[in-house]
Amino acid sequence: MREIDTKQVFTKDANKTYGLMELVKGTKPTVGLQPDDMVFTWPHLLIRELVLFVVVTAFLLVSAFFFDAPLEEIANPNHPPNPAKAPWYFLGLQELVSYSAFIGGVLVPTFIVVILMLVPFIDRKKIGIGKWFAKERSFANGIFLTFLIIMLILIIVGTYFRGPNWEFVIPWETGGLH
Protein backbone atom coordinates (compact mmCIF):
# COMPACT_ATOMS: atom_id res chain seq x y z
CA MET A 1 0.00 0.00 0.00
CA ARG A 2 1.23 3.43 -0.87
CA GLU A 3 1.37 6.10 1.81
CA ILE A 4 -1.09 8.88 1.17
CA ASP A 5 0.86 12.06 0.59
CA THR A 6 -0.24 14.74 3.00
CA LYS A 7 2.10 17.36 1.58
CA GLN A 8 1.25 19.93 -1.05
CA VAL A 9 0.71 18.52 -4.48
CA PHE A 10 0.19 21.86 -6.23
CA THR A 11 2.14 25.02 -5.74
CA LYS A 12 -0.23 27.57 -4.26
CA ASP A 13 -1.04 30.72 -6.14
CA ALA A 14 -0.66 33.64 -3.70
CA ASN A 15 -3.47 35.57 -5.39
CA LYS A 16 -6.11 32.93 -4.85
CA THR A 17 -7.92 31.58 -1.85
CA TYR A 18 -8.30 27.89 -1.20
CA GLY A 19 -10.75 25.85 0.74
CA LEU A 20 -11.59 22.20 1.29
CA MET A 21 -14.39 21.37 -1.12
CA GLU A 22 -14.57 17.62 -0.98
CA LEU A 23 -12.85 14.73 0.73
CA VAL A 24 -12.40 11.66 -1.44
CA LYS A 25 -11.80 8.41 0.35
CA GLY A 26 -10.47 5.55 -1.63
CA THR A 27 -7.89 2.82 -2.00
CA LYS A 28 -7.39 3.15 -5.75
CA PRO A 29 -3.79 3.09 -6.90
CA THR A 30 -4.02 6.72 -8.04
CA VAL A 31 -4.73 8.01 -4.53
CA GLY A 32 -1.68 9.77 -3.19
CA LEU A 33 -0.01 10.15 -6.54
CA GLN A 34 0.93 13.25 -8.41
CA PRO A 35 -2.01 13.99 -10.70
CA ASP A 36 0.03 13.80 -13.90
CA ASP A 37 2.16 10.79 -13.02
CA MET A 38 0.17 8.34 -15.15
CA VAL A 39 0.09 8.21 -18.93
CA PHE A 40 -1.80 5.99 -21.35
CA THR A 41 -0.24 2.69 -22.33
CA TRP A 42 -1.43 3.40 -25.85
CA PRO A 43 0.67 5.01 -27.25
CA HIS A 44 3.34 5.76 -24.63
CA LEU A 45 4.36 2.23 -23.60
CA LEU A 46 3.39 0.44 -26.83
CA ILE A 47 5.49 2.69 -29.05
CA ARG A 48 8.51 2.05 -26.81
CA GLU A 49 7.95 -1.70 -26.99
CA LEU A 50 7.67 -1.53 -30.77
CA VAL A 51 10.90 0.49 -31.07
CA LEU A 52 12.73 -1.98 -28.80
CA PHE A 53 11.44 -4.87 -30.88
CA VAL A 54 12.71 -3.31 -34.11
CA VAL A 55 16.08 -2.43 -32.58
CA VAL A 56 16.62 -5.91 -31.06
CA THR A 57 15.59 -7.67 -34.30
CA ALA A 58 17.83 -5.45 -36.43
CA PHE A 59 20.75 -5.93 -34.05
CA LEU A 60 20.37 -9.73 -34.17
CA LEU A 61 20.06 -9.83 -37.97
CA VAL A 62 23.19 -7.73 -38.42
CA SER A 63 25.12 -9.86 -35.90
CA ALA A 64 23.90 -13.02 -37.63
CA PHE A 65 25.29 -11.85 -40.97
CA PHE A 66 28.73 -11.01 -39.59
CA PHE A 67 29.31 -13.59 -36.85
CA ASP A 68 28.76 -17.30 -37.38
CA ALA A 69 27.59 -19.50 -34.52
CA PRO A 70 30.40 -21.93 -33.70
CA LEU A 71 30.25 -25.42 -35.21
CA GLU A 72 33.09 -27.85 -34.65
CA GLU A 73 33.57 -31.31 -36.14
CA ILE A 74 30.97 -34.01 -35.42
CA ALA A 75 30.75 -35.27 -31.83
CA ASN A 76 33.25 -38.03 -31.10
CA PRO A 77 32.98 -39.72 -27.67
CA ASN A 78 36.50 -41.17 -28.11
CA HIS A 79 38.27 -37.83 -28.54
CA PRO A 80 37.67 -35.52 -25.59
CA PRO A 81 39.08 -32.03 -26.13
CA ASN A 82 41.52 -30.90 -23.46
CA PRO A 83 40.16 -29.06 -21.58
CA ALA A 84 36.47 -29.84 -22.07
CA LYS A 85 34.48 -26.79 -21.01
CA ALA A 86 30.83 -26.32 -19.99
CA PRO A 87 28.79 -23.46 -21.53
CA TRP A 88 30.18 -20.09 -20.44
CA TYR A 89 27.57 -19.36 -17.75
CA PHE A 90 28.56 -22.58 -15.95
CA LEU A 91 32.31 -21.95 -16.21
CA GLY A 92 32.30 -20.14 -12.86
CA LEU A 93 30.95 -23.33 -11.30
CA GLN A 94 33.39 -25.48 -13.28
CA GLU A 95 36.22 -23.31 -11.99
CA LEU A 96 35.02 -23.95 -8.43
CA VAL A 97 34.63 -27.69 -9.19
CA SER A 98 38.34 -27.76 -10.05
CA TYR A 99 39.05 -26.92 -6.40
CA SER A 100 36.32 -29.02 -4.85
CA ALA A 101 33.61 -30.98 -6.63
CA PHE A 102 31.29 -30.68 -3.64
CA ILE A 103 31.71 -26.92 -3.22
CA GLY A 104 31.41 -26.07 -6.91
CA GLY A 105 28.89 -28.70 -7.88
CA VAL A 106 26.55 -28.68 -4.92
CA LEU A 107 27.16 -26.16 -2.14
CA VAL A 108 27.60 -22.96 -4.15
CA PRO A 109 24.78 -23.43 -6.71
CA THR A 110 22.32 -24.54 -4.01
CA PHE A 111 23.37 -21.64 -1.80
CA ILE A 112 22.96 -19.13 -4.67
CA VAL A 113 19.46 -20.30 -5.59
CA VAL A 114 18.25 -20.50 -1.97
CA ILE A 115 19.62 -17.05 -1.08
CA LEU A 116 18.20 -15.49 -4.27
CA MET A 117 14.76 -16.93 -3.42
CA LEU A 118 14.96 -15.56 0.12
CA VAL A 119 16.25 -12.08 -0.78
CA PRO A 120 12.84 -10.31 -0.54
CA PHE A 121 12.16 -11.93 2.83
CA ILE A 122 15.52 -10.98 4.30
CA ASP A 123 15.45 -7.34 3.20
CA ARG A 124 11.91 -6.00 3.60
CA LYS A 125 12.48 -2.40 4.68
CA LYS A 126 10.66 -0.06 2.32
CA ILE A 127 13.47 2.38 1.78
CA GLY A 128 15.44 3.30 -1.31
CA ILE A 129 12.82 1.87 -3.70
CA GLY A 130 12.59 3.17 -7.25
CA LYS A 131 16.08 4.63 -7.40
CA TRP A 132 19.36 3.20 -8.72
CA PHE A 133 21.93 2.56 -5.98
CA ALA A 134 19.98 4.46 -3.32
CA LYS A 135 22.20 5.51 -0.41
CA GLU A 136 19.81 3.93 2.09
CA ARG A 137 20.45 0.49 0.62
CA SER A 138 24.14 0.66 -0.15
CA PHE A 139 24.83 -2.34 2.13
CA ALA A 140 22.46 -4.70 0.27
CA ASN A 141 23.54 -3.33 -3.11
CA GLY A 142 27.20 -3.73 -2.12
CA ILE A 143 26.71 -7.41 -1.27
CA PHE A 144 24.87 -8.14 -4.53
CA LEU A 145 27.40 -6.21 -6.63
CA THR A 146 30.26 -8.12 -4.97
CA PHE A 147 28.48 -11.41 -5.72
CA LEU A 148 28.03 -10.46 -9.40
CA ILE A 149 31.67 -9.38 -9.73
CA ILE A 150 32.97 -12.61 -8.13
CA MET A 151 30.84 -14.70 -10.50
CA LEU A 152 32.06 -12.61 -13.45
CA ILE A 153 35.72 -13.06 -12.45
CA LEU A 154 35.27 -16.84 -12.03
CA ILE A 155 33.61 -17.05 -15.46
CA ILE A 156 36.38 -15.00 -17.10
CA VAL A 157 39.07 -17.16 -15.46
CA GLY A 158 37.27 -20.34 -16.52
CA THR A 159 36.79 -19.10 -20.08
CA TYR A 160 40.14 -17.51 -20.90
CA PHE A 161 42.70 -18.52 -18.28
CA ARG A 162 42.27 -22.30 -18.22
CA GLY A 163 44.16 -24.51 -20.64
CA PRO A 164 44.91 -28.25 -20.95
CA ASN A 165 44.30 -30.22 -17.72
CA TRP A 166 42.59 -27.08 -16.36
CA GLU A 167 45.98 -25.51 -15.73
CA PHE A 168 46.34 -21.76 -15.48
CA VAL A 169 47.32 -20.17 -18.80
CA ILE A 170 47.81 -16.60 -19.93
CA PRO A 171 45.63 -16.38 -23.07
CA TRP A 172 47.80 -13.87 -24.97
CA GLU A 173 50.95 -15.93 -24.37
CA THR A 174 49.71 -19.34 -25.51
CA GLY A 175 48.32 -17.89 -28.72
CA GLY A 176 44.63 -17.40 -29.32
CA LEU A 177 41.67 -17.52 -26.99
CA HIS A 178 39.88 -20.78 -26.38
Binding site: L33, M38, P43, L60, S63, A64, E73, A75, A86, F102
Partner: protein, 264 residues
Protein backbone atom coordinates in the same frame (compact mmCIF):
# COMPACT_ATOMS: atom_id res chain seq x y z
CA UNK B 1 -18.93 4.40 -28.36
CA UNK B 2 -21.64 6.86 -27.57
CA UNK B 3 -25.16 6.39 -28.98
CA UNK B 4 -24.97 9.65 -30.92
CA UNK B 5 -21.77 8.57 -32.68
CA UNK B 6 -23.37 5.23 -33.48
CA UNK B 7 -26.31 6.97 -35.17
CA UNK B 8 -24.02 9.18 -37.24
CA UNK B 9 -22.12 6.04 -38.18
CA UNK B 10 -25.34 4.31 -39.31
CA UNK B 11 -26.33 7.31 -41.45
CA UNK B 12 -22.94 7.29 -43.13
CA UNK B 13 -23.20 3.60 -43.82
CA UNK B 14 -26.42 4.05 -45.78
CA UNK B 15 -24.57 6.17 -48.30
CA UNK B 16 -21.72 3.64 -48.79
CA UNK B 17 -21.61 0.93 -51.45
CA UNK B 18 -22.33 -2.64 -50.37
CA UNK B 19 -18.67 -3.66 -50.35
CA UNK B 20 -17.54 -0.70 -48.31
CA UNK B 21 -20.38 -1.37 -45.92
CA UNK B 22 -19.47 -5.04 -45.63
CA UNK B 23 -15.84 -4.11 -45.09
CA UNK B 24 -16.73 -1.56 -42.44
CA UNK B 25 -19.05 -4.07 -40.70
CA UNK B 26 -16.33 -6.72 -40.79
CA UNK B 27 -13.71 -4.33 -39.44
CA UNK B 28 -16.06 -3.14 -36.68
CA UNK B 29 -16.83 -6.73 -35.70
CA UNK B 30 -13.13 -7.31 -35.03
CA UNK B 31 -11.99 -3.90 -33.78
CA UNK B 32 -15.01 -2.38 -32.05
CA UNK B 33 -13.51 0.98 -31.33
CA UNK B 34 -12.32 2.48 -34.59
CA UNK B 35 -8.86 2.79 -36.03
CA UNK B 36 -6.15 4.83 -34.33
CA UNK B 37 -7.60 5.94 -30.99
CA UNK B 38 -7.68 9.70 -30.62
CA UNK B 39 -9.13 10.31 -27.18
CA UNK B 40 -8.75 8.90 -23.68
CA UNK B 41 -11.75 6.60 -24.09
CA UNK B 42 -10.38 5.16 -27.32
CA UNK B 43 -6.90 4.74 -25.85
CA UNK B 44 -8.34 2.80 -22.92
CA UNK B 45 -10.46 0.55 -25.14
CA UNK B 46 -7.52 -0.04 -27.50
CA UNK B 47 -5.67 -1.78 -24.68
CA UNK B 48 -8.33 -3.63 -22.74
CA UNK B 49 -10.38 -4.79 -25.71
CA UNK B 50 -7.37 -6.50 -27.26
CA UNK B 51 -6.37 -9.96 -26.10
CA UNK B 52 -2.70 -9.37 -26.88
CA UNK B 53 -2.47 -5.88 -25.45
CA UNK B 54 -4.54 -6.33 -22.32
CA UNK B 55 -1.62 -7.86 -20.44
CA UNK B 56 -0.73 -4.17 -20.09
CA UNK B 57 -2.51 -1.86 -17.70
CA UNK B 58 -4.44 0.96 -19.41
CA UNK B 59 -2.20 3.53 -17.75
CA UNK B 60 1.41 3.38 -16.59
CA UNK B 61 3.45 5.77 -14.49
CA UNK B 62 5.88 8.10 -16.24
CA UNK B 63 8.62 6.93 -13.90
CA UNK B 64 8.35 3.34 -15.17
CA UNK B 65 8.76 4.55 -18.76
CA UNK B 66 12.10 6.24 -18.13
CA UNK B 67 14.69 4.34 -20.14
CA UNK B 68 17.41 5.11 -17.62
CA UNK B 69 15.32 3.40 -14.92
CA UNK B 70 14.81 -0.01 -16.55
CA UNK B 71 16.95 0.10 -19.73
CA UNK B 72 14.01 -1.89 -21.15
CA UNK B 73 15.71 -5.08 -19.95
CA UNK B 74 12.59 -7.02 -19.00
CA UNK B 75 10.89 -6.21 -22.29
CA UNK B 76 14.07 -7.02 -24.24
CA UNK B 77 14.18 -10.43 -22.52
CA UNK B 78 10.54 -11.05 -23.55
CA UNK B 79 11.29 -9.90 -27.12
CA UNK B 80 14.27 -12.26 -27.27
CA UNK B 81 12.03 -15.11 -26.11
CA UNK B 82 9.57 -14.31 -28.93
CA UNK B 83 12.38 -14.24 -31.50
CA UNK B 84 13.77 -17.50 -30.11
CA UNK B 85 10.35 -19.17 -30.33
CA UNK B 86 9.91 -17.99 -33.91
CA UNK B 87 13.38 -19.02 -35.13
CA UNK B 88 13.26 -22.17 -32.99
CA UNK B 89 10.04 -23.44 -34.58
CA UNK B 90 11.45 -22.58 -38.00
CA UNK B 91 14.62 -24.56 -37.21
CA UNK B 92 12.48 -27.56 -36.23
CA UNK B 93 11.52 -27.96 -39.91
CA UNK B 94 15.14 -28.76 -40.71
CA UNK B 95 16.34 -30.48 -37.54
CA UNK B 96 16.32 -34.18 -36.76
CA UNK B 97 17.15 -35.31 -33.19
CA UNK B 98 19.31 -38.26 -34.15
CA UNK B 99 22.95 -38.82 -33.23
CA UNK B 100 23.74 -39.72 -36.83
CA UNK B 101 21.58 -37.07 -38.57
CA UNK B 102 21.69 -33.98 -36.33
CA UNK B 103 25.17 -32.84 -37.36
CA UNK B 104 24.39 -33.24 -41.08
CA UNK B 105 21.38 -31.00 -40.61
CA UNK B 106 23.72 -28.33 -39.19
CA UNK B 107 25.83 -28.58 -42.33
CA UNK B 108 22.67 -28.37 -44.46
CA UNK B 109 21.69 -25.15 -42.70
CA UNK B 110 25.03 -23.73 -43.81
CA UNK B 111 24.97 -24.95 -47.39
CA UNK B 112 21.61 -25.96 -48.84
CA UNK B 113 18.90 -24.15 -46.83
CA UNK B 114 18.16 -20.59 -48.03
CA UNK B 115 19.36 -18.20 -45.33
CA UNK B 116 19.78 -21.23 -43.05
CA UNK B 117 22.97 -19.76 -41.59
CA UNK B 118 21.12 -16.54 -40.67
CA UNK B 119 18.35 -18.56 -39.05
CA UNK B 120 20.77 -20.56 -36.93
CA UNK B 121 22.95 -17.54 -36.10
CA UNK B 122 19.97 -15.42 -34.99
CA UNK B 123 18.78 -18.29 -32.76
CA UNK B 124 22.24 -18.75 -31.27
CA UNK B 125 22.98 -15.07 -30.60
CA UNK B 126 19.47 -14.38 -29.31
CA UNK B 127 19.94 -17.28 -26.88
CA UNK B 128 23.28 -15.96 -25.61
CA UNK B 129 21.80 -12.46 -25.37
CA UNK B 130 18.82 -13.73 -23.39
CA UNK B 131 21.04 -15.25 -20.67
CA UNK B 132 22.92 -11.94 -20.35
CA UNK B 133 19.80 -9.75 -20.48
CA UNK B 134 17.92 -11.84 -17.89
CA UNK B 135 20.87 -11.56 -15.49
CA UNK B 136 21.11 -7.80 -16.11
CA UNK B 137 17.34 -7.48 -15.56
CA UNK B 138 17.72 -9.24 -12.22
CA UNK B 139 20.56 -6.86 -11.31
CA UNK B 140 18.39 -3.86 -12.28
CA UNK B 141 15.55 -5.05 -10.07
CA UNK B 142 17.95 -5.62 -7.18
CA UNK B 143 19.78 -2.30 -7.44
CA UNK B 144 16.49 -0.37 -7.54
CA UNK B 145 14.96 -2.29 -4.62
CA UNK B 146 12.24 -3.72 -6.84
CA UNK B 147 11.95 -7.00 -4.89
CA UNK B 148 10.60 -5.37 -1.71
CA UNK B 149 7.00 -5.88 -0.58
CA UNK B 150 4.58 -6.29 -2.29
CA UNK B 151 6.80 -7.75 -5.04
CA UNK B 152 8.44 -10.65 -3.13
CA UNK B 153 6.58 -13.32 -5.05
CA UNK B 154 7.34 -11.80 -8.43
CA UNK B 155 11.05 -11.74 -7.58
CA UNK B 156 10.83 -15.48 -6.82
CA UNK B 157 9.04 -16.09 -10.15
CA UNK B 158 11.91 -14.13 -11.69
CA UNK B 159 14.47 -16.49 -10.14
CA UNK B 160 12.52 -19.42 -11.64
CA UNK B 161 12.58 -17.66 -15.03
CA UNK B 162 16.38 -17.26 -14.74
CA UNK B 163 16.75 -20.99 -14.02
CA UNK B 164 14.44 -21.84 -16.96
CA UNK B 165 16.51 -19.57 -19.23
CA UNK B 166 19.69 -21.39 -18.20
CA UNK B 167 17.92 -24.73 -18.68
CA UNK B 168 16.76 -23.80 -22.17
CA UNK B 169 20.22 -22.58 -23.13
CA UNK B 170 21.89 -25.70 -21.74
CA UNK B 171 19.52 -28.19 -23.40
CA UNK B 172 19.84 -26.33 -26.71
CA UNK B 173 23.61 -26.51 -26.46
CA UNK B 174 23.64 -30.27 -27.17
CA UNK B 175 21.43 -30.26 -30.26
CA UNK B 176 24.05 -29.41 -32.97
CA UNK B 177 25.84 -32.62 -31.91
CA UNK B 178 29.35 -31.31 -32.58
CA UNK B 179 32.41 -31.72 -30.35
CA UNK B 180 31.66 -28.44 -28.54
CA UNK B 181 28.09 -29.55 -27.75
CA UNK B 182 28.96 -33.11 -26.78
CA UNK B 183 31.74 -32.27 -24.33
CA UNK B 184 30.09 -29.20 -22.83
CA UNK B 185 27.08 -31.34 -21.92
CA UNK B 186 29.34 -34.13 -20.66
CA UNK B 187 31.10 -31.66 -18.34
CA UNK B 188 27.88 -29.82 -17.39
CA UNK B 189 25.97 -32.95 -16.44
CA UNK B 190 28.96 -34.31 -14.50
CA UNK B 191 28.77 -31.15 -12.33
CA UNK B 192 25.17 -32.17 -11.49
CA UNK B 193 26.45 -35.66 -10.64
CA UNK B 194 28.51 -34.36 -7.70
CA UNK B 195 25.45 -33.82 -5.53
CA UNK B 196 25.21 -36.39 -2.72
CA UNK B 197 22.56 -39.13 -3.08
CA UNK B 198 20.42 -37.43 -5.76
CA UNK B 199 23.34 -36.35 -7.98
CA UNK B 200 24.05 -39.56 -9.83
CA UNK B 201 20.37 -40.58 -10.36
CA UNK B 202 19.66 -37.03 -11.58
CA UNK B 203 22.52 -37.20 -14.09
CA UNK B 204 21.36 -40.59 -15.38
CA UNK B 205 17.78 -39.34 -15.61
CA UNK B 206 18.87 -36.34 -17.70
CA UNK B 207 21.09 -38.41 -19.99
CA UNK B 208 18.95 -41.54 -20.17
CA UNK B 209 22.14 -43.56 -19.61
CA UNK B 210 25.67 -43.35 -18.27
CA UNK B 211 27.07 -41.19 -21.04
CA UNK B 212 25.88 -38.62 -23.55
CA UNK B 213 24.34 -40.48 -26.49
CA UNK B 214 21.16 -40.89 -28.55
CA UNK B 215 18.99 -41.14 -25.40
CA UNK B 216 20.42 -37.91 -24.04
CA UNK B 217 19.86 -36.15 -27.37
CA UNK B 218 16.17 -37.04 -27.53
CA UNK B 219 15.65 -36.06 -23.86
CA UNK B 220 17.38 -32.71 -24.31
CA UNK B 221 15.41 -32.15 -27.52
CA UNK B 222 12.02 -32.73 -25.88
CA UNK B 223 13.02 -30.57 -22.90
CA UNK B 224 14.26 -27.84 -25.25
CA UNK B 225 11.31 -27.64 -27.66
CA UNK B 226 8.32 -28.59 -25.50
CA UNK B 227 8.71 -28.83 -21.73
CA UNK B 228 10.94 -25.88 -20.87
CA UNK B 229 9.34 -23.40 -23.34
CA UNK B 230 5.91 -24.44 -22.03
CA UNK B 231 6.97 -23.80 -18.43
CA UNK B 232 8.58 -20.55 -19.55
CA UNK B 233 5.32 -19.28 -21.08
CA UNK B 234 3.37 -20.14 -17.92
CA UNK B 235 5.86 -18.44 -15.60
CA UNK B 236 6.21 -15.42 -17.90
CA UNK B 237 2.42 -15.02 -17.84
CA UNK B 238 2.43 -15.09 -14.02
CA UNK B 239 5.38 -12.67 -13.97
CA UNK B 240 3.69 -10.08 -16.22
CA UNK B 241 0.33 -10.45 -14.53
CA UNK B 242 1.89 -9.96 -11.11
CA UNK B 243 3.55 -6.71 -12.24
CA UNK B 244 0.04 -5.29 -12.66
CA UNK B 245 -1.33 -6.86 -9.49
CA UNK B 246 1.59 -5.44 -7.48
CA UNK B 247 0.90 -1.91 -8.72
CA UNK B 248 3.19 -1.58 -11.72
CA UNK B 249 6.95 -1.16 -11.59
CA UNK B 250 8.63 -0.10 -8.35
CA UNK B 251 8.22 3.62 -7.72
CA UNK B 252 9.90 6.06 -5.31
CA UNK B 253 6.48 6.91 -3.81
CA UNK B 254 6.42 3.49 -2.15
CA UNK B 255 9.12 4.44 0.32
CA UNK B 256 8.07 4.83 3.90
CA UNK B 257 8.43 8.43 5.06
CA UNK B 258 11.61 8.98 7.08
CA UNK B 259 12.13 11.43 9.92
CA UNK B 260 13.75 13.91 7.55
CA UNK B 261 10.58 13.93 5.48
CA UNK B 262 9.40 12.01 2.51
CA UNK B 263 12.24 11.17 0.16
CA UNK B 264 10.07 11.55 -2.93
Amino acid sequence: MKIKDELINLNQQKQKGWFKQFWSNLYRSIFRYGKIPQDAEGQSYAVFNNLFLHIHPVKVSRHSLKFSYTFGLGIIAAILFLILTFTGVWLMFYYFPSATEAYNRMLDLRSSVDFGFVLRNVHKWAAEAMVVVVILHMARVFFTGGYKPPREFNWMIGVVLLLLTLGLSFTGYLLPWDQLAFWAITVGTSIAGYAPIIGEPLRKFLLGGDTVGQEALIRFYVLHVVILPGLMVIFMAIHFWRIRKDGGLSHPSENEPTKKGNSR
